[in-house]
Symmetry: C2
Subunit: 230 residues, 2 copies
């Protein structure tokens, strides 16, 4: 682990309130591993052996059925993933794949399950994380069912902006092909959607997003103020 990283990981909501002793045990048993881009970390259906914490890089969680596949979420650094599979000791529901070179802290699932029982702060943090993850998927499902494709794009851009502190200019993460899959549409339709949004207050050029008229974009996209996470 690089200097400065352990304190940083310790500040994750999941680990921040733990007792020092349990945190030491957790770090001692975990290891940080580097993965190349485009590598599948695990497949849906496999037993959950490790809680993953993305320290650096970008990871996609996806699902497949009968030859078709779709991207479900994008994990950014300093977030853990697949906590639900780890705590329930059930198989992974999603396949994880690195998008860029990534460093990932692997925490043995068995240890997490044990520590949850011993450390009340960790237990509460797990509850909070699961509840937030749950809400994120409720939101994603509602988004897909109630909005059509161009509106979903608009909302996605507004959400990204909010996560960057309300910035009007920012970069998209990952390839557009993958963004299209995340938003539940083809790359062709994502592209056309970007075109249509030029008239609604955002310009997309390459991976650069510029919100030129936020009020207009909001009027077009109908965001739900109370349920956007973060």
């Amino acid at each position: 682990m690089r200097p400065g990283e352990r304190p940083e990981i310790s500040r994750l909501p999941l680990f921040a309130e733990m007792r020092e002793e349990e945190r030491d045990r957790l770090f001692a048993a975990s290891f940080l591993q580097v993965f190349p881009p485009e590598l599948t970390l695990f497949e849906a259906g496999q037993q959950a052996d490790f809680l993953h914490v993305l320290v650096d890089g970008l990871v996609e969680l996806k699902a497949a059925n009968h030859g078709r596949e779709t991207s479900l979420t994008l994990v950014e650094p300093l977030h853990s993933f697949i906590l639900a599979a780890v705590v329930t000791d059930m198989p992974y529901l999603m396949t994880a794949r690195t998008l860029s070179a990534s460093r990932i802290l692997l925490v043995p699932a068995e240890l997490v399950r044990g520590l949850i029982r011993q450390d009340k702060a960790l237990m509460m943090a797990v509850i909070r994380e699961l509840a937030n993850g749950y809400r994120e998927f409720v939101r994603a499902l509602t988004d897909l069912k109630l909005r059509q494709s161009t509106e979903r794009i608009g909302n996605h851009l507004l959400l990204q902006s909010r996560r960057r502190g309300g910035a009007d200019n920012f970069q998209l993460k990952g390839e557009k092909k993958m963004l299209a899959s995340l938003l539940g549409m083809t790359p062709e339709n994502l592209s056309r959607g970007f075109g249509a949004l030029a008239a609604e207050g955002v310009i997309i050029s390459g991976s650069q997003v510029s919100i030129t008229d936020r009020a207009r974009l909001e009027a077009f996209s109908h965001p739900d103020p109370f349920y956007d996470p973060l």
Copy 2:
């Protein structure tokens, strides 16, 4: 509460392992209320005041945006709902509405949050429930993104069959209008889908479902064995 109901509610996974003392406090502060059909219990955006446990009846959880609305899940008796909002002390994400006359146990949210901290068994049960709820929504999102409407209907019927112990004949719950919304399609397309499935091993007549050729229905619907809940 009717005789025999309290023991029954106590056997819910959520409460089963709690210490007797905490369970007494919980029941003492809760109350069972009867609601007529078609009544909105709470709206998305409201603060979560009570954990709800459906004792009898049928409840729909739905979401709305910009005039459009959709059904997200159907709650059947002896399940709790909106645990995520209660434990995080955040607003409800979904609107709840009774479909039939329903009896619901209302547990003050503040008390649930307090007891979670004191009773390790309850805490673990909350983690399990949240993780299961999370997985259910991952599954719903995947279903919607990867399958087209008639396949979704086929899978829904297979899942209902599994929940009834693999029965080939059973009744659909709720109105078809609501089932269509749950499955992310219009009532017209649900109806046409039922028609198409007659050639794929299921006959639907009114609310009566008869699976006549399960192998064929499975071949058509491509269920994911490892992730159907229950």
